[in-house]
């Protein structure tokens, strides 16, 4: 006898808003074929509404009714915080990619709709307490992104990026869902909370199938966050996909992926931490080292950022190891803004729909357009985790977490990795300031301007006064 689930609209309101917004964009487009500005308004309003609803959740949410739809969806602070990050990323991403979107002409509406849909999918994912639900969100988001990757249709690289992303992505999804199935087979549960309670009940060791399941789930998500050795797609996609939207793609996938990882590992199977901690730590180490070392030898800024993303995945993993959800959330928020900012710069320098962005394009940027170069410098230093930037606070947080968990060696590896990482961020700065200008001509900059302003502000202000964001993250605990 199936009991009909009770409805709690607020729980899914933001996702609904985004979905409807996407639909609205398409309808408006079909109906009136308006200028891009209209789309800007529609999407802007949509994002604003979604944000507002999320804030409403924050205000209204209480642990008691955190669970909605008989446990499918949760409204815990963790979900809300990540949702906010996702929505912010959407807004920034659209701003950063706007010149690209506008350049698409008729297909611009599609792009916007896809972005909104992707966000709604991922925001569903971060909010879902049910693994199948999570899978749904994951797929909605991912599939939308596959298409975004291929939006610059007239460019071969874009196609290649799309197909690679698509094949490997769905491969990963399949593995993820198989893991879910195995966990289900082992526990009879899809609900993360349920799994937690169940595992708490196990007196003897739980069946191996669960471990296999957890492993596969972790692998599937590790792919989404481009943690080594599941990162191979990232550089190619970052390089091939349209510059304007790469930042957005990379960011939301990582945020949602890590949210899911944190939720599953730290809530669902925390009792099994004895066995998964070393594995995650291992992934973290491989990611940090591989990412940093490979980034060191890249000649293309977008690939460089991709590999740096791999190493960042590793750093965030240390936070997961430390079980410091607040630190992880802080890191995600900061990194999201910085990454979109970085790609906004790329979009300006290389052009919104260009493929790749050779480091030579940045020679003498410091002379050509000081402000742009300055912003990029701040962002890169933030990513490098130098003090006075929020990046340092973020790294400090996750490292502290890991050390507290007894993973001193991991922290030591991590700090060494940061030095290597610093080396390649600095390389870009060197090229910008210390080489004589090669490229000439002024750069056209659109709404990216605002993205950069925000990114720089976030990097410096939260670097000096991190308390505001840290408190927020500290409250945003998973159920």
């Amino acid at each position: 006898m199936i009991t009909p689930p009770e409805i709690s609209w607020l729980a899914i309101a933001p996702d609904l808003a985004l979905t409807l917004g996407a639909a609205l964009v398409l309808l408006v487009d079909v109906q009136w074929k308006p200028v891009a500005r209209v789309h800007a308004w529609v999407s802007g309003v949509t994002v604003a509404v979604a944000a507002g609803l999320t804030v409403a959740q924050w205000i209204q949410a209480a642990p008691a009714d955190a669970l909605a739809f008989s446990g499918l969806i949760t409204m815990d602070g963790f979900a809300i915080f990540t949702r906010l990050v996702l929505i912010a990323a959407t807004a920034l991403g659209l701003a950063a990619g706007w010149r690209f979107v506008a350049g698409l002409g008729r297909r611009g509406a599609e792009a916007i709709a896809l972005v909104l849909l992707a966000t709604s999918g991922f925001s569903l994912m971060v909010a879902s307490n049910n693994l199948v639900m999570m899978f749904m969100g994951l797929e909605v988001g991912s599939i939308a992104l596959y298409v975004v990757a291929g939006l610059a249709r007239e460019r071969r690289e874009s196609e290649e990026a799309a197909i690679k992303y698509f094949l490997l992505g769905s491969f990963a999804s399949a593995i993820f869902i198989y893991g879910v199935a195995l966990i289900y087979a082992g526990t009879g549960q899809f609900e993360i909370v349920g799994i937690r309670d169940l595992l708490a009940g196990f007196v003897v060791s739980s069946p191996a199938v669960i471990y296999i399941g957890v492993g596969l789930v972790v692998v599937g998500l590790a792919f989404k966050v481009s943690a080594a050795p599941f990162h191979a797609w990232a550089p190619d996609v970052y390089q091939g996909a349209p510059a304007g939207l790469v930042g957005y793609m990379a960011t939301v996938a990582k945020v949602a992926g890590f949210a899911a990882i944190a939720r599953i590992l730290l809530t669902g199977v925390l009792d099994l931490s004895g066995s998964w901690l070393p594995v995650v730590a291992g992934i973290s180490v491989v990611s940090m080292l591989l990412g940093s070392v490979l980034a060191l030898v890249q000649g293309d800024v977008r690939r460089l950022l991709a590999y740096s993303g791999v190493s960042h995945a590793g750093f965030i993993m240390t936070g997961v190891v430390g079980g410091a959800t607040d630190a992880v959330l802080f890191y995600l928020a900061i990194y999201a803004i910085q990454l979109i900012g970085a790609f906004a710069v790329v979009a300006v320098v290389a052009g919104p729909d260009a493929a790749g962005s050779s480091i030579d394009q940045y020679r003498g940027l410091g002379r050509r357009s000081p402000l742009l170069a300055g912003a990029f410098t701040v962002i890169l230093l933030g990513m490098g985790g130098l003090p006075v930037t929020s990046g340092f606070v973020a790294k400090f947080g996750v490292f502290t977490g890991a050390w507290a968990e007894g993973y001193e060696w991991l922290v030591i590896v991590a700090v060494v990795a940061t030095v290597v990482a610093l080396a390649f961020y600095i390389r870009v700065i060197v090229v910008m300031y210390m080489d004589e200008a090669q490229e000439e001509g002024t750069l056209r900059i659109g709404p990216e301007r605002w993205v950069l302003v925000l990114a720089v502000a976030a990097t410096i202000l939260w670097g000096i006064f991190p308390a505001s964001l840290l408190d927020l993250a500290a409250d945003a605990l998973p159920i």
Partner: protein
């Protein structure tokens, strides 16, 4: 007051930033003028400083409560001289940079930020805060070397940044570890130096943490064998860069060893005395020997720094009154003399556009004033009594001998070697008949350049004749360090290691 001292340069930097246009005739003078304010404030601080009062003018504002990090500044006899030195040298370094022809605005801004970072690092009493300053100042220095340096500037800047960053990375790990230990032992998080110094660490942990800190600082000092970034950095850096690097930045290393390693890990410090002392002595001799044959004037001075800073580390780890006083005052002395030497090399470079010793000869004939100043600084650096260098070295040697006799004797060799490499360099550069035409038509020091060197020279003499000026401020703090070590460990200060012993003896005599 201290907060103001840290923020003044920042404000100055921002002001300079806001001034539009890239014309040096605006920015450089403005920068110099603004950098006088910190100097004035530091001078006032020096004036009102109460030697006996320990840490004073403490500013403490909670930064992020859950992590226990504070904006926590305080000054004592060890940091005071360094702060004054910093604020003194920044205007001079700026005023010495008139030969910089491009992007002067950025240059001034970076220098001022650097100053803020340095002052902050010297004043921080919170390890998190200290690390922030310690690491943050790398960036302006990195740009100063990398943008305004000479041919291989990028290589040098990169090496400087990565090398030092590596050291501080380890230190960061150690700081985290310490803070968490504090959480375990007290339940509350704190990065305050005083709190962390009160922890009781297991021998193993203490040694590891000590090593992490020590490596970070040893790279900064730089202690053999971590010194190789220094010559490159110096040779490539512009004059101002070299001056600040040698005079102040390196001191962070020696200062850190004294302030943090001693306070936080007394046990390990005592155990590490042999290692550190041996490295220091190797540095003294090695740096001097290598300096002898350097073909490049700047490199020579750079290696001389390696040698001189060895004395500071030796004195620090001798853990006697004389040793510590010598170490601290030598921090200042080396700052003044080597800073001045780099200024002079810069002035020579501005005239001749070369630093190769072989390109010179007979300059004393053409630029007697410059030669005179150079010789003066040379003797200050050699440690001629009556000048400041002697005070430091003599105190260090006399203070270290009771603790580490054999090493001290070897270290004393450095005094001879210093005479060899510096006087030989002077002989090759300044004496003889100017044979090369380029050397025949050189203009002697301008009034501006004299104005830059004169105050340094004056201070060198004053400290040499009346070191009490500084020692009175320093001594209580250095004594406090020894007391701390003694009560934390079973370390016994060798006779006659303490002022007490000395005075007793003195009274008898």
């Amino acid at each position: 007051m201290l907060t103001a001292l840290v923020l003044l340069p920042v404000v100055a930097a921002i002001v300079v930033m806001l001034v539009p246009g890239g014309r040096r005739e605006v920015h450089l003078p403005l920068g110099i003028a603004l950098s006088i304010f910190p100097l004035a404030l530091a001078g006032y601080l020096f004036w009102v400083f109460e030697p006996a009062a320990g840490f004073q003018y403490v500013d403490r504002v909670t930064w992020y409560e859950p992590w226990g990090i504070d904006w926590h500044l305080g000054v004592d006899g060890i940091s005071l001289p360094m702060v004054v030195l910093t604020t003194l040298l920044v205007p001079i370094a700026l005023a010495a940079s008139t030969s910089i022809d491009r992007r002067i605005k950025e240059f001034v801004v970076y220098t001022l930020f650097l100053e803020a970072g340095l002052i902050g690092a010297f004043l921080s009493l919170d390890l998190f805060l200290f690390f922030v300053f310690f690491e943050a100042m790398l960036i302006p220095m990195y740009f100063i070397i990398g943008i305004w340096g000479s041919e291989r500037r990028i290589y040098a800047a990169m090496k400087f940044l990565i090398y030092t960053a590596f050291g501080s990375a380890l230190m960061l790990a150690a700081i985290i570890g310490l803070a968490l230990t504090h959480v375990d032992q007290t339940g509350s998080a704190s990065f305050a130096l005083s709190d962390l110094a009160a922890l009781d660490l297991s021998v193993g942990a203490e040694r590891l943490f000590f090593a992490a800190f020590a490596i970070a600082f040893a790279i900064k000092v730089p202690l053999f064998p971590f010194h190789t970034w220094l010559p490159d950095a110096h040779v490539e850096a512009p004059t101002a860069g070299s001056v600040l690097l040698a005079a102040v930045l390196l001191k962070l290393g020696t200062y850190g060893l004294l302030r943090f390693n001693m306070a936080l890990f007394p046990e390990a410090s005592v155990d590490a005395i042999p290692i550190m002392a041996i490295l220091a002595v190797i540095g003294i001799i090695y740096g001097a020997v290598v300096a002898i044959v350097q073909p490049d004037l700047k490199k020579l001075v750079a290696y001389s720094s390696v040698s001189h800073l060895g004395f500071i580390v030796l004195g620090t780890f001798a853990l006697t009154s004389g040793g510590l006083q010598g170490a601290v005052i030598q921090n200042v002395n080396h700052g003044l003399t080597t800073g001045a030497l780099f200024l002079l090399v810069g002035m020579i470079y501005d005239r001749r556009h070369t630093k190769k010793i072989a390109d010179f000869g007979g300059l004393q004939k053409t630029v007697p004033l410059l030669a005179g100043f150079f010789l003066f600084m040379t003797f200050a650096s050699i440690g001629l009594p009556g000048l400041n260098g002697f005070i430091g070295e003599f105190l260090v040697l006399m203070g270290s001998f009771p603790a580490l006799p054999s090493l001290t004797v070897i270290a004393a060799l450095g005094v001879v070697l210093a005479a060899i490499y510096l006087l030989w360099a002077y002989e090759r550069v300044f004496t003889g008949v100017p044979d090369k035409d380029e050397n025949k038509a050189l203009s002697d020091l301008s009034a501006r350049e004299i104005a830059l060197l004169a105050p340094l020279a004056a201070l060198i003499v004053v400290i040499g004749i009346y070191p009490g000026l500084l020692l009175d401020k320093i001594t209580p703090s250095t004594e406090a360090v020894i007391d701390h070590v003694v009560e934390q460990t079973d370390f016994v200060v060798p006779e006659p290691g303490r002022i007490a012993d000395v005075h007793v003896a003195g009274d008898e005599g």
